[in-house]
């Protein structure tokens, strides 16, 4: 395996020494480009009190290419599909090498706080969200209860 760029080493160190509140990210021992991530549902959102598992991978061209991030926990959200793929500009066209693992995860947390059904990835969820927002929020809360609870 190719040696790890200093940037990845430093980012990992700084994630440990200066963690982001409500977010954890730990590299796997056998592949330091692969991280296990948890994000707490933001306060006041339907995802509050939920803890969501994600996986994050830093491709060879990182930071010139964005990290690959995916939800592992089932989530009811218009911009996250059944496979956990996330529709977020900074993960695609608006990626910049000055962004970091930290900033990407914060953006995802912000996406949980403000779902955007007008730029959907999960079409059915987005439709539900637009037609019946109260109902959709209730479903999102229900799913959070059901799937996003801390493992004992």
């Amino acid at each position: 395996m190719a040696s790890l760029p200093k940037r990845i080493i430093k980012e990992t160190e700084r994630l440990v020494s200066d963690p982001v509140p409500g977010i954890t990210a730990e590299p796997h021992d056998d592949n330091l480009r692969y991280f296990s991530v948890t994000i707490e549902g933001p306060e006041g959102s339907p995802y509050e009190h939920g803890i969501f598992d994600l996986e994050l991978f830093l491709p060879d061209d990182y930071p010139m290419e964005s990290p690959k991030v995916r939800f592992l926990t089932k989530i009811y959200h218009p911009n996250i599909d059944r496979l956990g793929r996330i529709c977020l500009d900074v993960l695609k066209t608006n990626w910049s090498p000055a962004l970091q693992i930290r900033t990407v995860l914060l953006s995802i947390q912000a996406l949980l706080a403000s779902p955007n059904p007008n730029d959907p990835l999960a079409n059915d969820v987005a439709e539900d969200w637009i037609k019946n927002e109260t109902g959709a929020i209730a479903t999102a809360k229900e799913w959070t209860q059901k799937y996003a609870q801390a493992k004992e």
Binding site: A2, S3, P5, R7, P63, M64, N94, S96, A98
Partner: protein, 469 residues
């Protein structure tokens, strides 16, 4: 003090890796295939159209394959760091933070910009920096820096690829086709892969030769200093201890690679953030793609002419048309067009480099694509003597061929879609010829007409750039 040591300069040039001029591509005179006349038999017309595309494509490539390979070799040679070619204590080629295949900028242009002090040189980065290090510790760390980062000797993509004798130009015999079952396309693919694997190995060897010279000279200087034999015998191209301190004390971390560099980094024009040259040369226009409102269409329904490639945005503030400026630090001045690195003394009024020397400028203006470098660099300020001080550099400045690349991508897609249309039409013709009524005959004529139009359109398009030359 105060003289421009002409010797240093000459040697700098002589020691830049020598690369002969690439031979000019021959023009393709035989274009009769493009404008083939209409034949009576429709099915042969269909086949002819398909074939003519194919043949054309291949002929064009066969003629320039060797030249394109030579060009790639030349680029690889330009990327070798030579310790004797130093500008203000940095070098003209990258240290190697990013992989070799990602270095696709025009190396000649960048070298010239660095020599003209319009772009920060490629400094050797420190992995870490600790302000509590004593001067002795810092000098020791800088002394231990390699000229180039360590190469990955065995890349996964070249695993099991034979490279043969690197000194021999011929290597097609390495393509294992004993069973004779390989298609032309497979053989071509293999040829490309072997070429790339060989180039990668050559690249390592070229750099290692320079690394060894660098090491030997460092040892040589160390011995002379130990024996107190006076400084006159010292190798001139290695930095003095004062220069090491001047560069690496009070440096900066590049916010993209997180490595530690001397203070004189490039700066984003829009938001004044630092960026090292090695990261800057990685930033480029978006890969040719369709506009987002085309996303919903099927791949084959998209018009190749709609392919676009936007200029790079600022990585820090996302402003359009990312542009950097560079202001050389007078205090760091040494090397090219100035005093030898070994004679650097802090605070001494070094010789002013002569920016009116336009010799290098003209050589860059004649880059392959014919783009004039000077027209790409906007002057932002001038001092009273008329000396150009700050330049604006974009990723297009160092990749003058971006438009060519986009056009290539468009014509590739066009050829593909033309082939698809031809196959599609030929299927319909075959179906049509089964029925014998008037309507299908009309259809047949229409389709034929369509195809001829397509063929003419395509051949006109393919010929037009050649006529310009």
């Amino acid at each position: 003090m105060g003289n421009v040591p002409g010797k240093l300069e000459d040697e700098n040039r002589a020691n830049d890796v020598n690369v002969g001029p690439a031979t000019l591509p021959r023009t393709i005179s035989d274009t009769s295939d493009n404008s083939r006349s209409r034949r009576g038999n429709t099915s042969s017309l269909v086949n002819g159209f398909l074939r003519s595309n194919e043949r054309n494509d291949k002929d064009g490539k066969m003629k320039t394959l060797r030249q394109r390979e030579l060009q790639k070799e030349q680029q690889a040679k330009e990327l070798v760091i030579n310790y004797k070619s130093s500008v203000d204590g940095g070098y003209l080629a990258p240290f190697g933070c990013y992989s070799f295949d990602k270095l696709d900028y025009n190396a000649k242009t960048v070298k010239t910009l660095i020599k003209r002090r319009q772009l920060a040189p490629f400094y050797t980065p420190l992995q870490d920096y600790d302000a509590s290090w004593t001067d002795e510790e810092l000098i020791k760390i800088v002394d231990g820096l390699p000229l180039h980062s360590v190469f990955e000797e065995n890349l996964e993509e070249f695993e099991g690829i034979p490279t043969g004798d690197l000194y021999s130009e011929q290597f097609d015999h390495l393509i294992n086709n004993e069973s004779g079952t390989m298609s032309k396309r497979e053989r071509k693919k293999m040829h490309n892969l072997i070429f790339k694997a060989r180039l990668y190995k050559k690249r390592i060897i070229w750099q290692e030769i320079q690394n060894n010279i660098f090491l030997e000279k460092k040892l040589y200087n160390k011995n002379i200093l130990k024996k107190n034999n006076g400084t006159s015998k010292l190798d001139q191209y290695l930095p003095s201890d004062e220069l090491k301190l001047q560069l690496y004390r009070n440096g900066k971390e590049c916010p993209i690679c997180f490595l530690y560099y001397p203070n004189n980094l490039n700066c984003s024009k829009c938001c004044q953030q630092p960026i090292c040259t090695e990261c800057f040369v990685q930033i480029k226009r978006s890969h040719p793609h369709f506009p987002h409102d085309e996303d919903d269409k099927e791949e084959e329904d998209k018009d190749p002419q709609l392919l676009t490639s936007e200029p790079a945005k600022c990585p820090y503030c996302a402003s359009e048309n990312f542009t950097i400026t560079y202001k050389p630090l007078k205090d760091n001045e040494c090397g090219y067009h100035s005093i030898p690195l070994i004679k650097f003394k802090k605070g001494s009024t070094n010789n002013k480099y002569d920016l009116t020397d336009e010799e290098d400028l003209s050589s860059v203006s004649k880059t392959d694509s014919g783009t004039d470098l000077t027209s790409n660099i906007a002057l932002t300020s001038q001092d009273p003597l008329g000396r150009q001080q700050t330049y604006e550099i974009t990723s297009d400045t160092i990749r003058p061929n971006w438009e060519e690349r986009l056009k290539k991508e468009i014509s590739k897609l066009e050829r593909r879609s033309a082939n698809a249309t031809a196959i599609h039409v030929s299927n319909r013709l075959i179906q049509g010829s089964n029925g014998n009524n008037q309507e299908s005959q009309n259809n047949l004529n229409d389709l034929e007409q369509q195809m001829i139009e397509q063929a003419i359109k395509l051949s006109l398009k393919e010929n037009s750039p050649k006529k310009k030359k």
